[in-house]
């Protein structure tokens, strides 16, 4: 293999004047973390609302939930990001569209919202599965106790369902982190993007991608470890994972 390995490249100054190449990659990691966390909050909040809607007896509610999930699940994430980034500002009234286009850091906000909504469909399906996996008696008992629907969900169903679906939610959060790399296509310079620009500046392709790979693995490891602690902390006594 006639490739010139140069592992010292990480300590050499980058052409952006922001320190070394390692600093460049770390700043990309920070963007990846920020986008992923923001997208995950959006996914959790909207996904929970939609997931609850899908389990309500009301026809309209479950229809809305159905449409939401099908809409966000049947289009590639990349296409969805293009819709939010290139198409939406054109469809809005002129002033609103201009404001959107001139928003500072537009790729960042578009990526967070786009990835967040994309993942919300998956969170909704998981939560629905969690709620329907609860024994029917839980809901009936709450009704018998005189709880309203809101109270039933708030105090009985959701606290149980969220704990049950914690393991799949962990892998959905990991998917959110991975999916944030798609935002490179709308110009967000996150970890993969910084590895790519390091490759273009320094021609050290494999060092750049190796470093990005290691950083992604580390991020994964941190999330998995943290979630395992959380799982143990909130485990329901009497369930397999509980005490």
């Amino acid at each position: 293999m006639n490739y010139n390995w140069n592992w010292h490249i990480f300590l050499e100054p980058n052409p952006m004047g922001t320190g070394t190449y390692l600093d460049l990659l770390l700043s990309g990691l920070v963007v990846t973390v920020k986008v992923s966390v923001l997208a995950w909050i959006i996914a959790l909040v909207t996904g929970s609302v939609i997931g609850v809607l899908r389990t309500l007896p009301s026809r309209t509610a479950s229809w809305i939930g159905f449409c939401w999930v099908e809409f966000f699940r049947n289009m590639p994430l990349l296409v969805q990001l293009f819709l939010w980034f290139f198409v939406l500002p054109e469809l809005l009234p002129r002033t609103a569209g201009l404001w959107l286009k001139q928003l500072p850091n537009a790729p960042f906000w578009t990526a967070a919202i786009g990835v967040g909504l994309f993942m919300s469909a998956r969170v909704a399906v998981q939560l629905q599965a969690g709620i329907t996996s609860l024994p029917r008696g839980q809901k009936q008992a709450s009704t018998a106790l005189g709880l309203t629907t809101v109270q039933t969900y708030r105090y009985v169903l959701l606290p149980m369902a969220f704990r049950i679906i914690l393991p799949p939610l962990t892998s959905e959060f990991l998917n959110t982190i991975k999916n944030s790399a798609v935002a490179i296509t709308i110009g967000l310079i996150e970890l993969t993007g910084q590895a790519r620009s390091m490759q273009e500046f320094s021609f050290q392709v494999f060092e750049a991608f190796t470093a990005a790979t290691v950083l992604y693995l580390l991020l994964n490891f941190v999330v998995v470890t943290a979630m395992r602690f959380l799982e143990r902390y909130v485990a329901i006594p009497g369930y397999i994972t509980g005490k």
Binding site: N2, P76, L78, F86, S180, F209, T213, N220
Partner: protein, 232 residues
């Protein structure tokens, strides 16, 4: 509504042959071949993971976990730059060989999807009751024969809906070859969009096409699932 008034359907109409005969053909060929290759290699990886040789299982497990913790975009970049060097190493050429856009993305997607398909096939193989391979070996079938004629056909059949759902995900994921400026369906739409300055029309149309195909396909998978459920 600024743009909807002068929404230009003609741009789409004129681009249709290019979009479908070039772009969609690339997307569908890539999806089909990557699904097939991913299934073959995925099954092999699943068999490695379940084999009684511990180190074989460990290698396979490491590969699956490794690939599954990386973003597909990064994997696409990795293979795009790595495949020419691997080719050079394999053929003994003096410089990195040139690999076409299609071959490069096909290798990437097979390697990537094999990790995901292997997890599905592993679940499928583990869902077969132990009596089946036991009966096969009692009948004098070798390990290969018992896998080939008894276990794998049932595992494949049980997992068919999940495998097809993963193929729909793969179909959507192939759009990411956009990062290598390869004219798949989305790439073709994007080329026309930028040439004619018609981003709104082309991206909305591309979204609609992906949406309709994925919807119809997942509807078909759901029907298949209920049919299989009745048979069993």
């Amino acid at each position: 509504m600024t743009m909807l008034g002068n929404f230009d359907f003609d741009v789409i109409r004129r681009a249709l042959p290019y979009l479908f005969f070039e772009g969609m053909r690339f997307t569908l060929t890539l999806t089909a071949l990557a699904a097939f290759g991913g299934l073959v290699f995925g099954t092999l990886i699943a068999l490695m993971r379940l084999s009684s040789y511990k180190w074989l299982g460990r290698i396979a497990g490491f590969y699956v976990d490794f690939i599954r913790s990386l973003p597909l975009v990064l994997v696409i970049f990795w293979f795009y730059f790595l495949v020419p060097y691997i080719g050079q190493w394999l053929t003994g050429a003096s410089r990195p060989i040139t690999v076409g856009a299609f071959a490069s993305s096909l290798i990437t997607f097979i390697a990537f999807e094999a990790a995901y398909f292997s997890e599905i096939m592993r679940a499928g193989i583990q869902s077969i009751s132990k009596g089946q391979p036991a009966a096969a070996s009692a009948l004098g079938l070798t390990y290969a024969q018992s896998m080939r004629y008894v276990v794998l056909p049932q595992a494949f059949r049980n997992m068919l809906p999940v495998l097809l759902t993963q193929t729909i995900v793969l179909f959507q994921d192939t759009s990411l070859v956009y990062v290598l400026s390869i004219p798949d369906f989305l790439g073709a739409a994007s080329k026309v969009a930028q040439r004619d300055g018609r981003l709104v029309e082309m991206y909305l149309f591309a979204a609609l096409v992906y949406f309709v195909i994925s919807c119809v396909a997942s509807f078909g998978v759901r029907r298949l699932q209920s049919r299989i459920a009745i048979v069993r």
